[in-house]
C-alpha cells in the first residue's frame, strides 16, 4: 500500500516498512477520552476466526510457571525458544514483546449447540440457530459509546469479513439488538466497500465534508428521502410495528447524514493491490483497517479471517477438518494467524504523536469461535462443554499502558467474560456503560457446569477486569 501525504502527517518508507514522521509536533493529533490533545485515543481491534483450535497446536509447550496473582501464572514470551507454537509462528516474533498468549478462559454454554458469538459476546445460542442468548458484541457496545466517540465518527465500527459472506453462520461475530431482537451486524465483504465507507466519495479528498459537493448533494437527497418516509408513515394505514420499521429506517438515514459530515480521514485514499489471491485481499483489508484507525475514521475494528490458504476458502471442508484432521486444520489456522501477525506488524509500523506505535496505543483481541474443535474429548477440563473451555486468546498492544504485554498467561479456570470486561475498562467504560439486558457483567453466566465458576459469579466479580493482565 502506498499512503499519500496527508494534511497533518508524513509517512515514509524505511527498510520496507512505513513509519510516521511527526510534523510540527502535531502528527495525528486526536481528541481522546483522556482529553490530551497529543494523546492518541485507544483503538480496539477484535480479530475472530473459526472452527476451533487444538490446544497442542496453539499454546506454547512451555507452561507458565510464575504465580503473578492468585491462581494466575505467567511466563515471559521471550523465554520461549523458537516459534511460540505451530499456529503462532515466527511471524509473531517481531511483536512478541507486545503481545500476550492467554489460556484458562472459558465461556459458558447451555449445551453443545453451534456457536454464534462466544468470543465477542461471551454468549452461545440457547437453541440451534446460531443466535446468541446475549446478542451484544464488544464492538457494538463501543461504537455507540460517547466515551469512545465524543463526536460522530466516519465509521464507528469498521467490520470486515474480507472475501467471505458476513451473513453466513461463519461470518460476522458482531451482534446487537434491534427492536428487541438479536441482530447480526453486517461486515464489509469487499475491500472496495470498506474503502468507500472510510474515505467517502472518491475524488474529493482533502475537502471538508461540508464543502464537498458530492456530500452536499447526498445530504439534500437523503433529506428528501426522509421526507418521503415521513409522508408514508403519516398517510398510509400501517400497523404500528410497520410504522416503527419505517421510523427506524429514517433514523438510519439521519445517521448516514451524520457520518457523512464527520471529520474526514487525515490521509489520502490508499492505493489497493490487485486482489488476485487471498494474501493480497488481506493485505488490502489490513491496510484499510490500519489507515482507518491511524487517520481518524474509526477507533473500533472488527476483523474476521476465514480463508485457509492464498487460494482456499471452503467452510464446509474446513469444518470437517476441525472434526477429523488436526493436521490440515492446523495448516488452515497457521495461514489465518499469519494474517493476524501481518495486521499486528502493520499496526506497529506507524508511530503516532505520543511517540508510540499504533499497536502500542491499541488493544488487539484475537480469538476463535471455539476452543478445542471436537478432538479434545480425553483431556477436556469440563466434559460437555468442550468447545468453549480454554479459549485460544491472543492480545496485543498495551492500550496506552493499560495492559501487560509479552506474557504467556494461564488464568486456570476463569470466565472469558472478564476479559471482555477488561477490554471495556481499557476503553474507559464502566459497568453502567457496557451492561445490557439487565445482565450484571457481560455475556452468559449460566450453562453447563456453571458451578465451577461460582467464585466469579458475584456482581463484583463479574464486573472485575482480569487480574495481572489489566493494569488499573
Amino acid at each position: 500500500m502506498k499512503i499519500s501525504r496527508s494534511r497533518r502527517m508524513f509517512l515514509q518508507g524505511t527498510g520496507g516498512a512505513l513509519v510516521a514522521i511527526p510534523v510540527l509536533g502535531s502528527v495525528l493529533e486526536r481528541r481522546s477520552h483522556a482529553g490530551g490533545v497529543l494523546e492518541p485515543p485507544v483503538r480496539y481491534v477484535q480479530w475472530v476466526t473459526d472452527h476451533g483450535q487444538n490446544a497442542d497446536r496453539f499454546f506454547p509447550s512451555a507452561a507458565p510457571t510464575d504465580e503473578v496473582a492468585p491462581g494466575v501464572r505467567a511466563r515471559d514470551l521471550t523465554t520461549i525458544d523458537g516459534p511460540l507454537s505451530q499456529v503462532i509462528g515466527t511471524e509473531f516474533d517481531v511483536v512478541r514483546s507486545k503481545m500476550n498468549v492467554i489460556r484458562g478462559l472459558d465461556a459458558l454454554a447451555p449445551s453443545g449447540l453451534h456457536n454464534a458469538c462466544v468470543p465477542t459476546c461471551a454468549s452461545a445460542p440457547p437453541v440451534d440457530n446460531h443466535v446468541p442468548a446475549f446478542p451484544h458484541s464488544v464492538d457494538s457496545i463501543l461504537e455507540t459509546s460517547p466515551i469512545v466517540y465524543p463526536s460522530t465518527a466516519r465509521v464507528p465500527a469498521l467490520r470486515m469479513t474480507p472475501g467471505v459472506p458476513w451473513a453466513y453462520k461463519w461470518g460476522s461475530f458482531c451482534w446487537t439488538r434491534q427492536n428487541g431482537e438479536p441482530f447480526k451486524l453486517p461486515a464489509f465483504e469487499s475491500n472496495a466497500a470498506a474503502l468507500e465507507a472510510v474515505f467517502g466519495p472518491e475524488g474529493e479528498e482533502g475537502t471538508p465534508p461540508e464543502e464537498n459537493p458530492v456530500i452536499a448533494a447526498r445530504l439534500r437527497l437523503t433529506d428528501q428521502v426522509i421526507d418521503d418516509y415521513a409522508r408514508v408513515i403519516n398517510s398510509q394505514q400501517l400497523s404500528s410495528e410497520d410504522a416503527h420499521l419505517l421510523s427506524d429506517y429514517m433514523d438510519l438515514l439521519s445517521e448516514v447524514q451524520d457520518r457523512m459530515l464527520a471529520e474526514a480521514p487525515d490521509c489520502s485514499r490508499p492505493d489497493q493491490l490487485t486482489e488476485s489471491d487471498f494474501d493480497l485481499l488481506h493485505q488490502n483489508a489490513i491496510d484499510i483497517a490500519v489507515v482507518g484507525m491511524l487517520c481518524g475514521a474509526t477507533r473500533v475494528v472488527a476483523y474476521h479471517a476465514y480463508q485457509g490458504s492464498p487460494s482456499d476458502y471452503d467452510e464446509e471442508t474446513f469444518h470437517a477438518w476441525a472434526h477429523d484432521d488436526a493436521n490440515l486444520h492446523a495448516t488452515m489456522q497457521v495461514y489465518r494467524y499469519e494474517q493476524l501477525a501481518r495486521l499486528l506488524a502493520r499496526m506497529d509500523a506507524f508511530t503516532e504523536a505520543n511517540g508510540r506505535t499504533l499497536l502500542d496505543n491499541s488493544l488487539v483481541y484475537a480469538c476463535n469461535e471455539l476452543s478445542h474443535p471436537g478432538h479434545a474429548g480425553n483431556d477436556q477440563r469440563v466434559p460437555g462443554s468442550t468447545h468453549l473451555v480454554d479459549m485460544p486468546v491472543i492480545t496485543a498492544g498495551d492500550a496506552g499502558g493499560r495492559f501487560v504485554t509479552g506474557q504467556y498467561i494461564d488464568f486456570g479456570v476463569r470466565l472469558l467474560n472478564n476479559l471482555l470486561v477488561s477490554i471495556f475498562n481499557v476503553m474507559g467504560l464502566s459497568h453502567a456503560d457496557y451492561e445490557q439486558d439487565g445482565v450484571e457483567g457481560f455475556g452468559d453466566y449460566a450453562g453447563q457446569r456453571a458451578q465451577d465458576y461460582a467464585a466469579y459469579m458475584s456482581t463484583d466479580a463479574r464486573r472485575s477486569p482480569l487480574p495481572y493482565l489489566y493494569k488499573a
Binding site: G112, P165, F183, K184, R220, V232, S235
Partner: protein, 593 residues
C-alpha cells in the same frame, strides 16, 4: 400444537421429537410423536390424505396469523426490482456493480432460517450510493435514458418529470403516487435545477423510497374504519390493500416487483380472491424471473451455495479438474430442477426420483457416467443418479472419503424436513476421535461409522441418519457411481479397497415406506414415493415466499399443498398454491392504526 407438529400430523410419523432422539424411535412413537399424542395426526396411514389436512386446517382462525409485520426487501430483491425498471445493461455497468457491493447481502445458507427483518446502516448507505449509480448510469446511456426517463429527458422540464413519474413511479413504488407525494417529488426535481440531472435525482430518490425498500402492507381502504367488517377476513386479521397483494404475489414467485398487468389489476381492485389472483400467478410462474426465483428457493432449501468443494488432492490424483466443479454441479442441479418444474411440468415423484440430468461439460458427464447434454433435453443418468439429491452437488465431499453421516443427515433434514437435534457434544467428541483413529485400510467407511455410532446414546438418532447415508455409499466423494470403496489418504494416494454394502433395513422414511433399501436407486424411489418429502417440498415452497419459518397459521396451506403433490399435482401448481392462499390477502390486526 406447534406448526411443525401440525405438519408432522400430515407427514405422519414424527421420528425425532423436540426432546431429542436419543430415546429412540420406538420411545418417540410410544409417546405419541411430536404432536404429543393428541390424536389429530390424520388418518395415520402415511399417505398424507385429507385427514391430515383437516387436522391442520381445523382452526381457521389461526390462518394468516403469522403475517405480523411487513418485511424489508432482500438485497437480491432490491437489485432485481431495479433491473426490472432500468434493464439489465444498466445494472451490469461497473459503476453500479461497484456501488451495489456496499449493500450487505443475505446469508448464502438457509435464508428462510437466517433472514433478519431489519436494516443496518450499511444497508441504507449502500442503497444510497447504488441508487445514485443506477440513476447516473441511466442518464449516461442514451437507450436507457429514453426508456426510463422518456424522450424528453435531455432537456427535461417539469412536464417531462411529471410524465416520468406517471410512467415509472408506479413500477418502482408498486403503487400509485398520491397527488401530494407527486407534487413533493416535482418540487424536489425543480429545486435540483430540473433537466437531466433533475431526472436522475428523481430516480435516485424513488429507488430509496419506503415502497422500494419494504414490502409495504397498508390496510385495504375498503375495510376502513372497521377492518374486522371485511366479510372475507377472519377475526383478528385485516385485509391488506390490492397493491400489497400484488407485491406479495410477485415477489414470492419472481423475486421482483409486479408487472403492469398485475398493477392494473390492483388498480381495478381485482386482487381480492384466490380466483382473481391465480391467473396472474400462472402467468408469472412461466416467466424467466420465476426460474431465477426457483434457484433462490433451492439454494436456501438445499444449501446449494455452501456445499463442500471437492477434495483437491484426490481430484488431482484422479485427473479430475476440480476448478469450479462445485459451482458447475450446483448449476447442473438447478437446471435439472428448472427443467422438471417449468418444462416438464413434473410432479414430486419425478422431481425427487427421475434419473435425468444436464451435465454440460465432459467432466460433469464423466462424473455422472453419462453423455454430455447438448440441447434443451436432458440425458439419462446411469448408476443410480437422479432426483434432487442423488446428484453431484449434494453428494460431493471435501474429503478423500464419503461421509454417510453427513449425507444421511442432509437427506433427513433437507428432503424429509425432519428435525434432527444436535447430539451431546461430549459424545460427538468421543465419536469423532474414534472416527479419526479408525484404520480405514482395514475397515470400510460404513464399518467405521457403524462401530462409532453403535452406542445406545448415538443409535437413537443415527438409526435415522446412517441408513440413508449407507444407501448412498454407491457414490464416491465426487458423486461418481462406484462398485467398490477406494480409500485414499489426504495426498490422494490409494491405500486400500473395500467391497461396498449399500443394503439397509428399516430406513424409517414414511409409515408405509420400504423396509429395506438396496442402494441409491431404491432410495430415490422411496423419496419419490414419500409423503413426508412432499410435505417438505410444500413447506419449503411456502416458507420461501414469506422468508420465515412456518408458524401455526401456515400449517393449513402447507398441508393442502402437500396433499396436492401427494395426489399427483405438479410442482409448479404446488408453488402457485403455496403462494395463492387465503393468507396472501391478510395480516394480523393487532396494533393496526
Amino acid at each position: 400444537m406447534t406448526s411443525r407438529a401440525r405438519l408432522a400430523s400430515i407427514a405422519l410419523l414424527a421420528i425425532c421429537t423436540s426432546t431429542g432422539c436419543y430415546r429412540g424411535v420406538d420411545d418417540a412413537a410410544t409417546a405419541g410423536g411430536a404432536d404429543g399424542g393428541d390424536g389429530d395426526g390424520g388418518d395415520g396411514d402415511g399417505d398424507g390424505e385429507d385427514g391430515g389436512v383437516a387436522a391442520a386446517c381445523a382452526d381457521a382462525d389461526v390462518r394468516g396469523t403469522d403475517n405480523v409485520s411487513m418485511r424489508r426487501l432482500t438485497r437480491a430483491e432490491v437489485m432485481q426490482s431495479m433491473e426490472a425498471v432500468v434493464g439489465p445493461d444498466v445494472m451490469a455497468a461497473s459503476t453500479v456493480l461497484q456501488a451495489a457491493v456496499q449493500i450487505p447481502g443475505e446469508s448464502p445458507g438457509d435464508l428462510v432460517a437466517d433472514f433478519q427483518n431489519g436494516h443496518a446502516i450499511e444497508h441504507v448507505a449502500g442503497l444510497l450510493v447504488t441508487a445514485e449509480a443506477v440513476a447516473s448510469e441511466v442518464g449516461a446511456d442514451a437507450t436507457a435514458r429514453g426508456t426510463v426517463f422518456g424522450a424528453c429527458a435531455d432537456t427535461a422540464d417539469t412536464a417531462c418529470a411529471g410524465s416520468f413519474l406517471d410512467m415509472q413511479a408506479r413500477r418502482i413504488l408498486k403503487r400509485p403516487l398520491s397527488a401530494e407525494r407527486r407534487q413533493a417529488l416535482l418540487s424536489g426535481f425543480e429545486a435540483e435545477g430540473a433537466g437531466l440531472a433533475g431526472m436522475q435525482w428523481l430516480l435516485s430518490r424513488l429507488l430509496q423510497a419506503p415502497e422500494a425498500v419494504f414490502h409495504l402492507e397498508p390496510i385495504r381502504a375498503a375495510c376502513d374504519p372497521d377492518p374486522v367488517a371485511c366479510p372475507d377476513v377472519p377475526g383478528g386479521l385485516v385485509a391488506i390493500d390490492d397493491w400489497a397483494v400484488a407485491s406479495r404475489l410477485s415477489y414470492a414467485l419472481t423475486g421482483q416487483g409486479p408487472d403492469d398487468d398485475l398493477l392494473d389489476a390492483a388498480a381495478r381492485g381485482e386482487l381480492r380472491t384466490v380466483a382473481q389472483v391465480r391467473p396472474h400467478a400462472e402467468r408469472l410462474v412461466d416467466s424467466a424471473a420465476a426460474r431465477r426465483q426457483l434457484s433462490a428457493v433451492l439454494d436456501s432449501w438445499l444449501l446449494l451455495g455452501t456445499r463442500a468443494k471437492p477434495n483437491l488432492a484426490v481430484a488431482g490424483a484422479l485427473g479430475i479438474d476440480a476448478d469450479g466443479l462445485a459451482e458447475e454441479a450446483r448449476e447442473e442441479l438447478l437446471e435439472y430442477a428448472a427443467y422438471q418444474v417449468f418444462d416438464a411440468d413434473a410432479g414430486a415423484a419425478e422431481l425427487l426420483g427421475a434419473a435425468i440430468g444436464f451435465p454440460r461439460s465432459q467432466r460433469m458427464a464423466e462424473l455422472y457416467g453419462s453423455e454430455v447434454a447438448a440441447g434443451d433435453a436432458p440425458v439419462t443418468l446411469p448408476g443410480g443418479h437422479g432426483g434432487l439429491v442423488l446428484r453431484v452437488s449434494p453428494l460431493m465431499s471435501g474429503h478423500p472419503y464419503t461421509s454417510p453421516i453427513l449425507r444421511g443427515a442432509y437427506v433427513r433434514k433437507r428432503v424429509m424436513c425432519d428435525d434432527v437435534p444436535l447430539p451431546d457434544p461430549a459424545a460427538v467428541a468421543e465419536g469423532l476421535a474414534e472416527l479419526d483413529a479408525a484404520d480405514r485400510t482395514v475397515l470400510s467407511t460404513r464399518q467405521v461409522v457403524e462401530a462409532v455410532t453403535a452406542p445406545p446414546l448415538c443409535a437413537g438418532c443415527h438409526q435415522l441418519i446412517n441408513p440413508l447415508g449407507f444407501a448412498m455409499e454407491g457414490f464416491d466423494p465426487f458423486g461418481r457411481a462406484r462398485t467398490e470403496e477406494v480409500v485414499y489418504d489426504e495426498a490422494g494416494v490409494e491405500l486400500a479397497r473395500h467391497p461396498l454394502d449399500t443394503v439397509v433395513d428399516d430406513p424409517i422414511l414414511d409409515d408405509d415406506g420400504p423396509d429395506r433399501l438396496t442402494g441409491a436407486e431404491d432410495l430415490a424411489g422411496a423419496l419419490a414415493d414419500s409423503a413426508k418429502a412432499r410435505a417438505c417440498i410444500a413447506e419449503r415452497l411456502y416458507t420461501y415466499g414469506w422468508l420465515r419459518p412456518a408458524g401455526d397459521g401456515d400449517a393449513c396451506t402447507i398441508a393442502q399443498v402437500a396433499l396436492g403433490l401427494q395426489e399427483g399435482g405438479s410442482i409448479k401448481d404446488a408453488w402457485i398454491d403455496a403462494v395463492v392462499a387465503p393468507e396472501l390477502f391478510v395480516r394480523t390486526a393487532e396494533d393496526s392504526q
